[in-house]
Symmetry: C2
Subunit: 101 residues, 2 copies
DNA sequence: ATAGTATTTCGTATATTTACGAATAAATAA
DNA sequence: TTATTTATTCGTAAATATACGAAATACTAT
C-alpha cells in the first residue's frame, strides 16, 4: 500500500514571484528602482554618485535587476541610461499582490 | 573645494522592504505563505508532507518567515500550528506597492 | 519511569551573494 | 593615434543561504 504523498514542485508563478522578490531583496536595488521611478531614467554615473556602493558593485546590482527584466539599459556612449521595464514592473506588483492578498 | 557627494545610506522603509523581499525570495517560502493563506493555519507536519523539502529544512524556512514577522507559530504539543501575521503581511504589501507604483 | 510523537537545533557541505579595486572595453575628443 | 570618459568584467575574499540527516528537545500517554 502506497501512503507516501507525492511532493509538489513549484508553480511557474511561485518561481517567478520568488525571482522578483530576490531582485528586491537588497536595499540598494530598492533604492535603484525608486531612483528610476522618480527620475524616469538615470545614468549609471549619476546613480553611482548617490548610492553607497562602488561603481563595479552598482553594475552588478543593475545586472541583477536587468536579468529578471525589471529594468533595461540603453547605451548612449560612453554613458548608459537605465529605465524601468514597466511591463515586468507591473507583473511583479501583480504577483506580490496575489500572494499577499 | 569639496565636490564629493555625501553618499546616502538607506531609509528604514527601504531596509524593511528589502527584508520582506528577502523572506519571499525562495519559492518554498512563497508556497508556505500560500498554504497558510488558503488554510488559515497549518501544522508543520502537514506542510512537510506537501512541500518538497526535508522537515529540518522546512523548519529553517519557517524560521526565516517568523524572523521578519510574516508568520507566527503556536504550540499545541507536540505539534506546532503556523498562521500568517496579518499586520506585517499587510505592511509588506503596502511597502511593495509603494515601490512598484 | 519509559516510550512515542512532532518539531527544532546541530553539524556540515556546497552554492550563492556581496563587496572592492584593477584591468578591460568602447566610444569620443584632441 | 593617443588620451579621456564611462561603464563593465575579472579576480578574489568574506559572508550568507540552502540543504540534509542525526541528535536533541518537549510534551503526552502508557
Amino acid at each position: 500500500m502506497i501512503t507516501e504523498q507525492i511532493k509538489q514542485s513549484y508553480t511557474e508563478e511561485q518561481l517567478q514571484a520568488a525571482q522578483f522578490a530576490k531582485a528586491l531583496s537588497h536595499p540598494v536595488r530598492i533604492a535603484i528602482l525608486e531612483l528610476l521611478n522618480n527620475e524616469s531614467c538615470c545614468l549609471h554615473g549619476d546613480m553611482a554618485e548617490v548610492l553607497p556602493v562602488a561603481k563595479s558593485t552598482l553594475s552588478q546590482h543593475l545586472n541583477e535587476l536587468k536579468k529578471v527584466g525589471l529594468i533595461q539599459g540603453n547605451i548612449h556612449p560612453p554613458q548608459v541610461k537605465y529605465c524601468i521595464n514597466r511591463k515586468n514592473f507591473m507583473l511583479a506588483k501583480l504577483l506580490f499582490n496575489n500572494i499577499l492578498k
